[in-house]
Amino acid sequence: MTEEDDIDGLVAEYALGSLSPAERRELEARRRTDATLAAAIEAWERRLAPLSEQAPGVAPPAHLFGRILARIADQGATRARMPEVVPIRGGFGRRLRLATAVSALAACVALAAVWFGHPQTQPPGTQPTSVSCGSRYKDFWEQFDRQKYARISAEQLAGLSRMALRAYDACEAGDEQDARALFDRLRRMQF
């Protein structure tokens, strides 16, 4: 088997979905800089794409599109600042991820500032859910070992921040099931 065959086999397995996480990450990193590889992946995705027709559609929950718009609005400032950096695939993704991480972090800091700064402004008993949502959010970040900041990627940190904010939002909105699922998931994450 030649090297070329082997790479096509690897790419085929990537498009099919059978690779391990490490293999997927490696191929995705190479895809960003290797146009031939990127084209090979797209060719395999095209070959297998008709199979998606076999899977029956499933209606997503009605509220999801609203959440997507809300999250896009949160990132609006980021997009407005850098709309045309796009021509190179991958490069854009990385800049965007970093920008997302920065804006997500900024949001965390802002939110943290709100209640670290004003612990006494909440009249006791008026908004019990808000207090408990806030402390759940705060507890998560306190438990999250600060040293992990240095170890995880900007993308992971952004994802983590977004999820923590979503958990807080869900809790505030009274969607306890959603909030608990998100907070539980955050606690189980390993870095």
Partner: protein, 181 residues
């Protein structure tokens, strides 16, 4: 909502320019399909909800990357959905074999409703899949629809991982040659 390929291309191009109405149309036309793909791979609605959001946020951010001359919009969207779902599925590995169905259930060819919707591309691919041995065909479909890794398949069929890898690669090479593209 049945929308033509041309409509989807236009919606993607308008989305790339920040048009939210076009983005909504794109979501309405494609979310049923993409959510179906994601739910099947993840098997859990709560995780699928999050991945679907990530998918459309990525679509909003990167619609400008879509190249209408080199592919169909639904293929491009489905690839994003599959890749994010597979990444999410890998995060909670190893999964228990109980999480996968005993048998692969897909709309059968005898089902007239399903038959009507089959594209020429799917018919051609299915003809090539029928050229594989039955157990190899099932492996290919299990991986595609449920995102099973070689290790997970190895546990399911009680064969070494290396054998699974060889089978998958041979089957895929055979499909590529059969399709001739």
């Amino acid at each position: 909502m049945p929308v033509s390929r041309q409509d989807l291309v236009a919606a993607l191009q308008q989305t790339a320019r920040g048009d939210q109405a076009a983005f909504r149309l794109l979501y309405e036309a494609t979310s049923l399909k993409l959510y179906g793909i994601i739910v099947r791979i993840l098997g859990r609605r709560d995780l699928a909800d999050e991945v679907l959001q990530e998918v459309y946020i990525r679509v909003w951010q990167r619609a400008g990357d879509f190249d209408a001359t080199s592919g169909s919009p639904i293929t491009w969207l489905a690839a994003i959905a599959r890749n994010l779902a597979l990444d999410e599925a890998r995060r909670k590995s190893p999964r228990s074999l109980d999480e996968f169905p005993e048998v692969l259930r897909l709309p059968s060819e005898d089902d007239p409703a399903a038959a009507q919707e089959r594209s020429e591309e799917l018919k051609r691919l299915e003809a090539c899949l029928d050229g594989l041995e039955a157990d190899k065909k099932e492996l290919v479909l299990l991986v595609y629809h449920y995102g099973m890794t070689r290790e997970e398949i190895s546990g399911r069929i009680n064969r070494p991982v290396a054998t699974v890898k060889t089978w998958l690669r041979r089957s895929l090479a055979q499909l590529r040659d059969c399709l001739g593209q």
